[in-house]
Symmetry: C2
């Protein structure tokens, strides 16, 4: 079987991998995201031997955003208006594609992670819609509906949901430069650090920060349940891995739903809202999965 | 061309129509929604002559919910846990299908209305995702993604989004029996009546109710934009038709987005968030559209 490349381009680090299955990865490398020139050069260097040996059938890129995913746009494949210094209007897709000259699939890090978890772990694909939420430095939401990552005017941005904010209980104004106290503004790892003066991994399990955090995440998950009626929600990212947080979130999601949505699945909420099975490889393995999908669709079209 | 039937089953009234195009309706009837027995009997009586004359190729039902849309469920086609007296666990699909013995398509009133507006008005189908919001006695949201109405665990319930609620500016606790101050609890026609002691149509254009209403609807629409990244949003229902409200909503959506989503479409927001072109026939004509779609898909499958 041919090999595929996966790139997860994150705001702080990048992951490159080559393989064709979670259990069959030939090489994997992680490096910090610095300038676009230096970072993209490292990506290209990583894949070049596989291109030269003609083993690589395609590459998937799972990138931080916002991204231009409109195939008819002259700036398709660009990172657009990111606050990350130097990375606005970078043609990530184009530089990789032109340097390596293989088919490249391109999507948001969270859409690719959602697709990866669905593709590699829930292979029957009947878990659709399928939602992946990451809570790390920022908050992102990826969605697969009818077998495809959700694209529209741009792509989903549910990390910026407007949510109830009890200013008396939590006078913190939020950190989102666009919205102040949206979901990401209130509940991202960066927001936690700013609110408590301590990074989340240093906050004890008994710290009131976690009850507040679980409350915001539960409100967000309920809104995601109302929006997509997903068959499964994966809760990933560094902050979500804090011991005990997921159980608190489960409990609060039940409280907020208050019996409104009737489904047997919601009575087994610990099987409904889950940590990622692929762990911190969801993005990279998702990137490989979207590359495989794109190639098989291209072949499907060619033979039609 | 064959004829199709459309049923819009609403909480207060029902619409039955026969035809195959918005400009080609042979008969249309509106009657109040009373008991299930009486109401469903009226629907059957309406269509019976067209079934007997073998002119009717199928019927679409656009119903108030919640509904069981899971094709593998023994209660597929039932209205499930509605607060509407007498209508819980009514087999609406089954009674129509068995009495008339024609193919029946079944979906929520809002999914059908969304599909109808997309199908009849934006026939190129490239406006996808496509969102229909109704603000009447209650609030509902229908969504078309990748050409199909959104179904999942159940169906979308974005009318119950959790939203910011400024208790100081608006101490009204909300009317939702499940969530209190969710979107429907704060901004439905029923909520307006309860808050102001006057039905919405009797509140003057200059009444502060409308600024508050526009604020809640704008927050909801921004969350819908973040969730689905829709290519178009239709804002229907009786409350939405209040003079000046849509313009207020446009203005507030822009304020809340605050430039976060970059798309030329958002600079023409009066072309992006629109009233329904089919008016109060979106549901019935949408029901006809889902019936046509189901029949053409069945034929597609048969010839594959």
């Amino acid at each position: 079987m041919k090999l595929f490349g996966g790139i997860e381009a994150g705001g702080t680090k990048c992951v490159c991998m080559v393989g064709n299955h979670p259990d069959h990865l030939l090489q994997e490398e992680r490096f910090p995201t610095t300038t676009p020139g230096e970072t993209i050069h490292k990506m290209i260097e990583f894949f070049l031997p596989y291109v030269k040996s003609r083993e690589l059938a395609g590459i998937g890129i799972a990138s931080f955003g916002p991204l231009d995913l409109n195939l008819n746009s002259p700036t398709y494949g660009y990172i657009t208006t990111t606050p990350k210094a130097g990375w606005s209007h970078v043609d990530l897709y184009g530089e990789i594609q032109q340097s390596l000259n293989v088919p490249v699939a391109f999507d948001t890090d969270v859409n690719a992670a959602a697709f990866g978890e669905q593709y590699w772990i829930h292979e029957d694909r009947c878990l659709d819609p399928f939602v992946y939420v990451t809570v790390g430095t920022g908050i992102g939401v990826g969605v697969i509906i009818n077998g495809a990552p959700l694209h529209g005017l741009v792509h989903g941005e549910a990390g910026h949901f407007a949510l109830p904010h009890d200013w008396q209980g939590d006078p913190f104004p939020g950190v989102c430069p666009y919205h102040g106290d949206c979901l990401e503004g209130l509940a991202s790892g960066f927001a936690m650090s700013k609110r408590w003066g301590e990074s989340p991994e240093r906050l004890a399990e008994s710290h009131p920060a976690w009850d507040l955090e679980a409350g915001y995440l539960a409100l967000a998950l309920v809104n995601l349940i109302y929006a997509y009626s997903p068959q499964r929600i994966i809760l990933g990212g560094g902050v979500s891995q804090h011991p005990g947080l997921l159980q608190l979130v489960h409990c609060k999601v039940h409280q907020i739903l208050n019996g409104y949505v009737q489904s047997p699945m919601l009575n087994r909420i610990n099987e409904y809202i889950l940590p990622p099975t692929l762990g911190n490889r969801s993005g990279g393995l998702g990137a490989i999965a979207i590359a495989i999908r794109q190639l098989s669709e291209a072949h499907g079209q060619a033979t039609r």
